[in-house]
């Protein structure tokens, strides 16, 4: 359990305790003159009730939502978070397969990409890209939790080669290949994709179709 998860659970539990207090104590039954002894000080019971109400309804939920959303936005970058939805499992299984020759698997084995492998390629480049990826994540969440999808899933839009170029462009191994210079313009404006020459990024749709020969292996996460 991460620190953020612990913090979220602890704050939510504290809120729940406050809610139970508010639910089982009736505000109308608290007389204005009634006092509560708190060990060091004696305060009006009504003030205690209202203070607990303010903290429980007005204060703690803000803190809980802040930690939970931080966890959602930051936690969503991890590969484990992507594979949490079973439709993504074939991509993750293939990516982690040391014998796989797919683009994702080759990138996963690269020393330059040690974590957040799914997010690094699918988040676009820059602030706008990351924001779009997070909004797209909310759309994925709606479709997955409501079951509004069919297998095999497919990428909604054209994969932007700028995601690849943001890392590869300008590097010596990339510049050394003559065809990169020839294809550069077509890659930049989306007329050509890196996968045209470098092969599939993930298992094909046929492999990911339920009932296919590879489906069970990809879904169970068994790496051969």
């Amino acid at each position: 359990m991460s620190l953020l998860s612990f913090l979220t659970a602890a704050l939510a539990a504290l809120t729940l305790v406050g809610c139970l207090y508010l639910y089982f104590h009736d505000l109308r039954k608290l007389r204005p003159g009634k006092l509560t002894y708190l060990g060091l000080v004696t305060v009006p019971s009504l003030a205690i009730y209202k203070l607990i109400g303010l903290v429980t309804i007005g204060g703690l939920p803000v803190a809980v939502l802040a930690t939970a959303n931080m966890e959602i936005l930051e936690g969503a970058k991890s590969v484990e978070s992507c594979s949490g939805c079973h439709v993504m499992q074939p991509m993750v299984t293939d990516m982690m397969d040391p014998t796989s020759d797919s683009l994702a698997a080759r990138h996963y084995r690269a020393p330059a990409m040690q974590d957040h492998q799914c997010y690094t390629c699918h988040a676009g480049y820059g602030f706008g890209g990351a924001l779009a990826a997070k909004l797209e994540g909310y759309r994925h969440l709606v479709r997955y939790t409501t079951g509004l999808y069919t297998e095999p899933i497919r990428i909604r839009s054209h994969f932007d080669a700028k995601s690849c170029l943001s890392c590869h462009d300008g590097t010596a191994p990339y510049e050394e290949i003559r065809s990169h210079a020839i294809a550069g313009e077509r890659l930049s404006d989306g007329r050509m994709s890196c996968t045209n020459c470098h092969g599939m990024a993930h298992p094909s749709r046929t492999q990911r179709t339920p009932g296919s020969a590879d489906y069970e292996r990809l879904m169970t996460g068994r790496v051969e």
Binding site: A9, A12, I57, G58, V64, Y144
Partner: protein, 59 residues
């Protein structure tokens, strides 16, 4: 304040479920159920506070 307590309590249970499991369904419930519950409860609480302060001529 029972209604606010119930709404906030329900949202908190969802948040605990999410924090402990990190399940996609719990994440969906956090974003699309718990957050609106907290907002509705908070808005109702603010309305209650404003009403009380207005009745006491503080506002």
């Amino acid at each position: 304040m029972k209604m606010e307590a119930v709404l906030t309590g329900l949202a908190s249970v969802i948040l605990i479920w999410f924090a402990l499991t990190r399940d996609p369904y719990a994440m969906g419930a956090t974003v699309f159920v718990a957050t609106p519950l907290y907002v509705v409860s908070g808005a109702s609480f603010i309305r209650r506070v404003v009403k009380e302060l207005s009745s006491k001529k503080v506002l």
